[in-house]
Amino acid sequence: MPYAFLAPAAVIIVLFRLLPIVAALGLSFFDASFGKIRAFVGLAQYSELFGDPAFWRSAGNTLWFVLGCVPLSVASSLFFALLLRKGVAGLGFYRTTYFLPVVTSFVAVSMVWKLIFHTRVGLANSVLAGLGIEPLQWLDEPTGIFQLAVAGLGWDLPAWAHGPSLALVCVILVSVWRGIGYNVVIFLAGLQSIPEHYYEAARIDGAGRVGIFRNVTWPLLTPTTFYVVVMTMILSFQVFAPIYLMTGPPIGGPLGTTNVIVYYLFDEGFGAGGNMGYASAVALVLFAVILVLTLFQRKVVEKRVHYA
């Protein structure tokens, strides 16, 4: 009897989750294209992949994307959550507003931000002009932001120190913007679960605002912070839609500085080359990274994180 209740979900999950996951691993050992499997090549595609500069460039861009998104998103959403914690008047209004981009599709969001960053008719450059600053190339700018920052001083950094391109930073900002409302709600729930008597005790002991944050709020909030950090990280590794819609043409431009790992595997697998086996190998590498993060989260949450 229970198996009959289980069957509909089990059929779908086995056929469309488990099977494709196993097949992805299998496919990465084959030279395959649009439904045609040509030859077994063993680990050759993995060694090809690790020797491919295009793969490393997209991996590097993805890493910059994650390194940009996680601290920006966590810091800004914690900041707004702390402001909202005291139950300020209008909490509902602010929460509704901050959450607005979360229910909006990334496609529509990317389209309007692409227009805002438009070099000629965009809002961003018109704000800069109002402040008396030279216009920037935004999504068309392949130069790294660290190099851009010191270019005015006449300095030339070595190539490895240029940092992510301004174009990639624009996409980072849009992704952070879209996700803040979500993280604010998670942080608010975490803050509200800290018992009020800890705060009372700290105040009686004469702790100031900074002391209370350092010794009460921050340590008791670690499980929430940890959750937000890891979730934001895992989602950032999978960024696709804003890259697809905001950058280029060609997508991943300018000069390949916004080509991230998921776009790279999409383009390899479904582009003109149709290297589905090779793209599966890329997918497996991505999975390995995300799996390590997931397992790391579980271990740390079990052992080190303080529970209130």
């Binding site: 009897m1 229970p2 198996y3 209740f5 509909p8 979900a9 089990a10 779908i12 999950i13 056929l15 469309f16 989750r17 488990l18 494709p20 996951i21 097949a23 299998g26 496919l27 439904g35 707004f80 300020v88 602010y94 507003t97 901050y98 607005l100 979360v102 229910v103 909006t104 599709s105 990334f106 496609v107 529509a108 389209m111 309007v112 000629r120 008719v121 809002l123 450059n125 018109s126 002009a129 996700g179 979500y182 998670i186 729930a189 989602l235 999978q238 696709f240 839609a241 697809y244 819609l245 043409p249 998921v262 595997l265 697998g269 589905m276 793209a279 997918a283 991505l286 995300i290 997931t294």
Partner: protein, 283 residues
């Protein structure tokens, strides 16, 4: 007195910061709507105008008729409603089994389901394509470019099973025992007792399934080729690529593509926020 004044001043500072934040979330939406209402020449002015000089609504019908947006909407609604119904049925049934029955392999199967949640969509998108390509039925390319590819793989959702199971486990044991003693059949127990007591959890499942399906992009981009089955997000993305310089048309299309969800959001913000933050989002 001093304390009160300080508190009030601090309150103003807090509100000032929060309002700056709120503006940063609202202005892009304002920009979207504002641009959609601008006429020909005004769209190309540098610097751009904050307020359209005259309200031109012509972009809306033009965008609506340039590509088959009505068809895209119909496709999205058909796919989303099918998936919501399917997820409610499959998750409800399996969560019921996990929560109220003892059977061989219960924990193993449950953990097997949960483990699939660790694998993100981009990892299996290529192998899924190959699989769907080879499935019988559908059109020339198997299930590719067919409604079945948009719907069937999403008819079960592991997190929904998890959520409903948690909810079912919170039912008092006495309730179950009483039902068993009274000779209530499992099916009757499910429909007469369990489901009516689970309206909130089922609403959560319906809302996030609908919103995630409405906004999903990568999957439909990969499995659709033709206008007749393309859902709204993919249609909008192609429209943006083809009409890249027609900013008025693009923003009009963006506005009507997000309008249905935003209207729903203003009527049910609390439920929608709770539903999405319960479950995690897809990019």
């Amino acid at each position: 007195m001093h304390e009160a004044v300080l508190g009030l001043r601090r309150n103003w500072a807090v509100h000032a910061l929060l309002i700056v934040g709120a503006l940063s979330f609202v202005i892009p939406f304002y920009w979207m709507i504002g641009t959609s209402l601008k006429g020909g020449a005004e769209l190309f002015e540098t610097p751009p105008t904050w307020f359209p000089r005259s309200l031109e609504f012509g972009n809306y019908p033009e965008a609506w008729n340039t590509v088959p947006f009505p068809r895209y909407f119909a496709n999205t609604i058909f796919v989303a409603v099918s998936i919501v119904l399917g997820v409610v049925v499959t998750s409800g049934l399996s969560a019921f089994a996990f929560a109220f029955f003892r059977f061989r392999g219960r924990e193993g199967i449950f953990n097997g389901f949960l483990s699939t949640m660790m694998v993100p969509e981009p990892v299996y998108i290529i192998s899924s394509y190959v699989l769907l390509y080879h499935l019988p039925g559908g059109g020339r390319d198997g299930w590719i470019d067919d409604y079945s590819a948009l719907i069937v793989p999403w008819l079960a959702h592991v997190f929904s099973i998890f959520l409903l199971r948690q909810h079912f486990l919170s039912f008092p044991r006495d309730l179950v025992d009483a039902a068993v003693i009274d000779g209530c059949s499992p099916v009757r127990f499910l429909f007469v007792i369990v489901l009516p007591l689970s309206k909130a959890a089922l609403t959560t499942v319906c809302l996030f399934t609908f919103i995630n399906t409405w906004n999903s992009f990568l999957w439909p981009l990969v499995v659709t080729n033709s206008d007749t089955i393309r859902p709204i997000q993919v249609g909008l993305a192609y429209f943006a690529q083809e009409q890249g310089t027609e900013h008025g048309l693009m923003m009009a299309a963006a506005v009507f593509s997000i309008a249905p969800l935003l209207v729903a959001y203003f009527f049910a913000q609390k439920q929608i926020i709770a539903s999405l933050t319960h479950t995690g989002l897809k990019g």
